[in-house]
Point group: C2
Chain length 354, copies 2
């Protein structure tokens, strides 16, 4: 291991002089600089960003903190990450992914090393220990997501209210009024406080109440298997259902598979609308899912911008909420026959069809 | 921005003394140390890993270099990454993900900053510019994958030969001899040299030749849409096919969907075997895919171990090839009727069944 002392000895200067040069704290003559640089080269001592970072406190590296062990890194996440990385690259920053847990412990350790200029936080919880860790460390950061108490935090997020409103309106316009939401599983301790699930469910309750429709919600984790089970529950508990909204993307694939397995035609017998997903996942379902498209590319870019503006001392990016937009697919149509809340169940309608 | 000079002024010592303390290059008295540390605290100057790294050249951070813009970060990748992160954590290292391109340009920039102790390389190409970049930088590294010229490189990889042998044998044991491989698309410039695709195709050519079967390969990129198109090509070009092997996991979902769309029963009319995937993706198909399970958890861990042994000066990890193992599903069965290469096509058999 080559130290500054070794460099100083080889260059025939004092350690302080090497330090002055590396940290740019005091001018050194061109001749001395050349001697020190030659010594560093000879000894394989890289005069690198570590040294410069020590002086400037800037590495031009930013991290996206993503709790990869708690949250599946799926197609949608990938869009947030790659768009954030591209946005960083355009501004001459490097974005790296930190797979740190939700509790903030590993985040604190990494921040303590001072190697990044700032952090973009993903998969934000309503009360998020990572926000406190970031504040205490003095590290600039931006949220893709929202805590309950935002208190001036720089953030961008999905507009869950507008997304759910548009989704329910779309189904209403097709004539559906027997709806079920297959939501997230808020009983899962990893997700009980997970913003997107809590906010979507709240929005759904509000929106269907405004239409004077019953609130029917079935919890479901984000796997295909869980989606199949949830579809079965819908058929048993709410047989009158003509349209299902599914919050999670892999669950949505399971809902379609499960309904088809039990002999239901989609959308002939029952419509399915995926609330947050991306075209590539939607294409995995057969028929292809009608969906509200997750604005991952927009939010990855905006979240990075929100952070970089802080780092560059520019005007702060105002908080932005971006709705998921309706994206055509083949799983939504009108209900097969007119029905009322108290009227004929869809089971009868399906029999009449087959 | 607080500099060493500010700290020195506030502590009433020379910059050199601050440097001696931070870089551990010369002893300072306890009283001086206390004064400097108090000054750093007062000024918010973190005596952090940047300083220590400058002295010790060690950060205990390792990076997984993953070309996220070229390669989809899917379910399988996620397994490699999280198992690698867990393996690192157990040894008190942090693993971060670097979404650097295949050409090595951004990798070189990041390495030049000297912030990581080593690199695990993912999605390795047969001739991989990133290997040269890593060698030139003097950074320890290990490959999850293999270049053609390994030349003592520390590496672990999928055993593609054993995987393809087992897969073809499984289909042969079910009585199939009209096989097609839906492979990767080696004409795509991003993938022309991509190890897993080249090696799988080579292995397939060798294995089916050893069974004296015709070599039938259809190129296909890794998307559901491409898989649907490839399934249609199989039906047109090789209507006698009774079993399809699919290299890529999202393509495999498309193959199943495409075959079903054209009225084929799986596995009644045609069997599908996914060559490299994980249970969660397999569950998205209906019926659930029979597969060779990608050994992501094993390889993520082994790749990290291979690197950490270098960093810790332990005995090198011997190169290891891990086969994907057969994992039961519901897309493989015997062909519907006995047939010979020149015999009745499967179209007739399917008609007889429906």
């Amino acid at each position: 291991m080559v130290t500054m002392k070794d460099v100083a000895q080889r260059a025939g200067v004092s350690i302080a002089t090497v330090s002055f040069l590396l940290n740019d704290t005091k001018p050194v003559t061109a001749a001395t600089r050349a001697r020190i640089e030659q010594a560093m080269l000879d000894l394989g001592y890289r005069r690198n960003m570590v040294a410069r970072a020590l002086a400037s406190r800037r590495t031009h590296i930013i991290a996206m903190a993503y709790p990869a062990l708690e949250h599946r890194f799926g197609m949608s996440t990938s869009e947030f990450f790659t768009s954030a990385a591209e946005a960083a690259r355009k501004e001459d920053y490097h974005l790296v992914l930190w797979p740190v847990g939700n509790d903030g412990v590993e985040l604190r350790e990494l921040l303590g090393q001072g190697l990044v200029d700032g952090v973009v936080l993903m998969e934000v919880q309503l009360v998020d220990p990572r926000v406190d860790v970031l504040r205490q460390s003095g590290t600039p950061f931006a949220l893709i997501g929202r805590t309950t108490d935002l208190d001036g935090l720089s953030h961008v997020d999905i507009d869950f209210d507008a997304t759910v409103e548009d989704a329910v309106r779309h189904l209403r316009e097709h004539g559906h009024h027997e709806l079920v939401l297959i939501s997230g599983d808020l009983d899962d301790p990893r997700f009980h406080d997970y913003g997107p699930w809590v906010r979507t469910e709240e929005a759904y309750r509000r929106v269907v109440a405004s239409y004077d429709l019953p609130i029917r919600i079935i919890p479901c984790s984000d796997t295909t298997q869980a989606g199949k089970a949830a579809a079965a529950r819908v058929l048993t508990e709410y047989p009158e259902t003509t349209a299902i909204l599914v919050l999670n993307e892999y669950a949505a694939l399971g809902v379609v598979a499960g309904l088809k397995h039990t002999g239901h035609d989609i959308p002939g017998d029952i419509s399915v609308l995926s609330l947050l997903t991306v075209p590539e996942t939607a294409a995995m379902a057969d028929p292809e899912l009608t969906m509200m498209r997750t604005p991952g590319p927009e939010l990855g870019q905006l979240g990075t911008q929100a952070l970089l503006r802080q780092l560059e001392g520019d005007d702060p990016l105002p908080p932005q909420l971006v709705p998921a937009k309706l994206h055509p697919g083949a799983t939504v149509a009108g209900p097969r026959a007119p029905r009322s809340k108290a009227g004929a169940g869809r089971r009868g309608a399906r029999k009449a069809r087959s």
